[in-house]
């Protein structure tokens, strides 16, 4: 459902911005084709985002999946949208 993806997207983006701010990281402009390793966030930042998203959305697709890790921000959002469905 489109609406779900949109709300998941908003939640994910707000956590990226929040964690970047907390961790004093300069965040690249957020777009679907942004490669996560180039986002300005290191693995600790991403780990924190994953933990906070689990609290916010009730899912941790990184724990559940046996598929590939997401490469782009778009993959990342899709992973959560699929898991939260």
């Amino acid at each position: 459902m489109k609406v779900d993806v949109m709300s998941v997207r908003a939640t994910v983006l707000s956590h990226f911005e929040q964690v970047a701010k907390e961790q004093r990281k300069s965040l690249a402009p957020l777009s679907d084709d942004l490669v996560l390793v180039d986002s300005g966030l290191d693995s600790l930042c991403l780990a924190i985002i994953v933990a906070r998203l689990e609290d916010a959305l009730g899912v941790d697709p990184f724990n559940a999946t046996d598929g590939d890790f997401p490469v782009t921000l778009g993959d990342f959002i899709q992973l959560y949208a699929n898991a939260a469905r």
């Binding site: 693995s43 600790l44 991403l46 780990a47 924190i48 994953v50 933990a51 906070r52």
Partner: protein, 466 residues
């Protein structure tokens, strides 16, 4: 009163004098030491226990205390069964310590200790006894360590090793009234029991079923002057309105890391007291105590050993060599208690900052965040420094990217209940404090406000990851 070499407990207690004025106060009964001169808690059956390996398995601390006084020097071995002794470990203890007699107040039915032929009941109501007290045995004192899993280890001490840290300075002309949140069958409590008896004082015993406020009220009513517990015991005590019913001259902490916050809170609550935190463990004995009001200990202790205790830091952990360390484990597989160099590895990790050393946590309790180590206790020390925090527990949270992250459960002081809408604000303040003081991998990713944290019967915080 220093213990003469190879001396037994009763002669040393007698020599401290004023027996009629000194008491052991339990929750339900009390006994003066004077009554023990012509009385026995063992119903006149003391001689049946001579030369035996005796498991003291009483529910009540007072009966245990009386049995210890009577049996040191008489029994070959005294095994101190803690009140929460799991029955499934009983046969392991009986076998390992070659127990052939049981002193019981009914807590452990004799049938649950199979093969133990002699069972002697112990009561706080003394029976007349005209028998001359005579020792003869250099009794081994066996303490049980409280592992989180598996059977307890049996640690061998002597009265001399247990009493080695008790100095003249503690006697205070015999007027001291000691008390402890600990059970006296654990190392920390046993230290207080021996300080009271050997130093010419009295002792207020806690009781497992007793409310904290009632215990503090009772200690206050007996005029407690010296009182000890773990930092967790003290944090709970300071949450109680009854904290002000005692006015001790000496407050002692041991068994866990004393962080700056708890030292400061105790200073504020008991401005007239000397506040000391001791480093001691069942295996390593009492190494030192520090009473300058600051967390950690001066690095000079490493270079200038005091009181016959040598300290060193190896592979990050504190090692101790002294006459107060335990002798050995009874038949426990694994590394020996005392290393080849005579040092006991405490497993307590220390870190030097300037001219002071700080305890940062247990070797086994490390959280690994993406290859970087976090000791829960070092994060707790920072969180506990927030003025609204009473206590905290830092634990691991699994994470697919870094293996683990750090989260914190936090108990607020009553006035700062998160229910009054300040939860988010306080969480932000605590996290900012952590970010200011700690490297980023040590900062909790989440703060959960909880009403209470579980404290084990040992007086230590229950650590789920340990």
């Amino acid at each position: 009163m220093p213990l003469a070499d190879a001396g037994a407990l009763w002669p040393a207690v007698s020599a401290a004098g004023r027996l009629a004025d000194r008491a052991l106060w339990g929750a339900g009964a009390s006994v003066t030491l004077g009554e023990l001169v012509r009385g026995s808690s063992l119903g006149g059956r003391l001689e049946e226990l001579r030369g035996r390996s005796v498991l003291i398995a009483t529910s009540d601390q007072l009966t245990a205390a009386l049995a210890l006084v009577e049996l040191d020097g008489v029994a070959r071995r005294l095994v101190l069964g803690p009140p929460d002794l799991p029955s499934e470990h009983l046969s392991h203890i009986v076998t390992t310590a070659a127990v052939d007699a049981l002193v019981s107040d009914g807590a452990v039915p004799p049938t649950s200790a199979p093969g133990v032929g002699v069972v002697v009941p112990c009561r706080p109501r003394l029976a007349p006894s005209d028998a001359e007290r005579r020792g003869g045995h250099q009794t081994e004192w066996i303490l049980l360590t409280s592992g989180t899993t598996g059977p307890p280890k049996l640690v061998v001490h002597t009265l001399a090793s247990l009493a080695g840290a008790i100095r003249e300075g503690h006697t205070l002309a015999g007027s001291a009234v000691w008390s402890t949140f600990y059970d006296i069958r654990r190392y920390g409590g046993l230290q207080i029991f021996l300080r009271a008896l050997l130093g010419g004082g009295s002792l207020v015993l806690s009781s497992a079923g007793e409310a904290l406020g009632d215990f503090l009220g009772r200690a206050g009513a007996h005029g407690v002057t010296h009182i000890s517990g773990t930092p967790s015991h003290w944090r709970r005590a300071l949450m109680s309105p009854a904290a002000h019913r005692i006015a001790p001259r000496y407050v002692r902490l041991s068994g866990e890391i004393a962080d700056q916050a708890i030292l400061d809170h105790l200073r504020a609550c008991y401005p007239a007291a000397r506040i000391a935190h001791a480093f001691a463990s069942t295996e390593a004995g009492v190494a030192f105590d520090v009473d300058d009001g600051l967390a950690g200990f001066p690095a000079s202790l490493l270079e200038r050993p005091a009181g016959g205790v040598d300290l060193k830091v190896e592979a990050g952990s504190l090692r101790i060599r002294s006459a107060r360390t335990a002798t050995r484990y009874l038949e426990t597989p694994g590394p020996p208690l005392v290393g080849r160099d005579g040092f006991v590895d405490t497993g307590d990790m220390v870190e030097r900052r300037g001219d002071r050393l700080y305890f940062v946590g247990r070797r086994g309790g490390i959280i690994n965040v993406g290859g970087l180590k976090v000791h829960p206790e070092e994060v707790e020390a920072v969180i506990n420094g927030h003025p609204h925090v009473r206590m905290s527990l830092v634990r691991t949270r699994k994470n697919a990217l870094t293996g683990a992250l750090v989260v914190a459960d936090v108990v607020l002081k009553a006035a700062a209940d998160p229910a009054n809408g300040r939860g988010a604000e306080l969480e932000g303040e605590i996290l900012r404090l952590c970010r200011d003081r700690l490297p980023r991998h040590k900062v909790p990713v989440a703060i959960h406000f909880v009403p209470a944290l579980p404290v084990a019967p040992t007086g230590k915080l229950v650590r789920p990851d340990a």
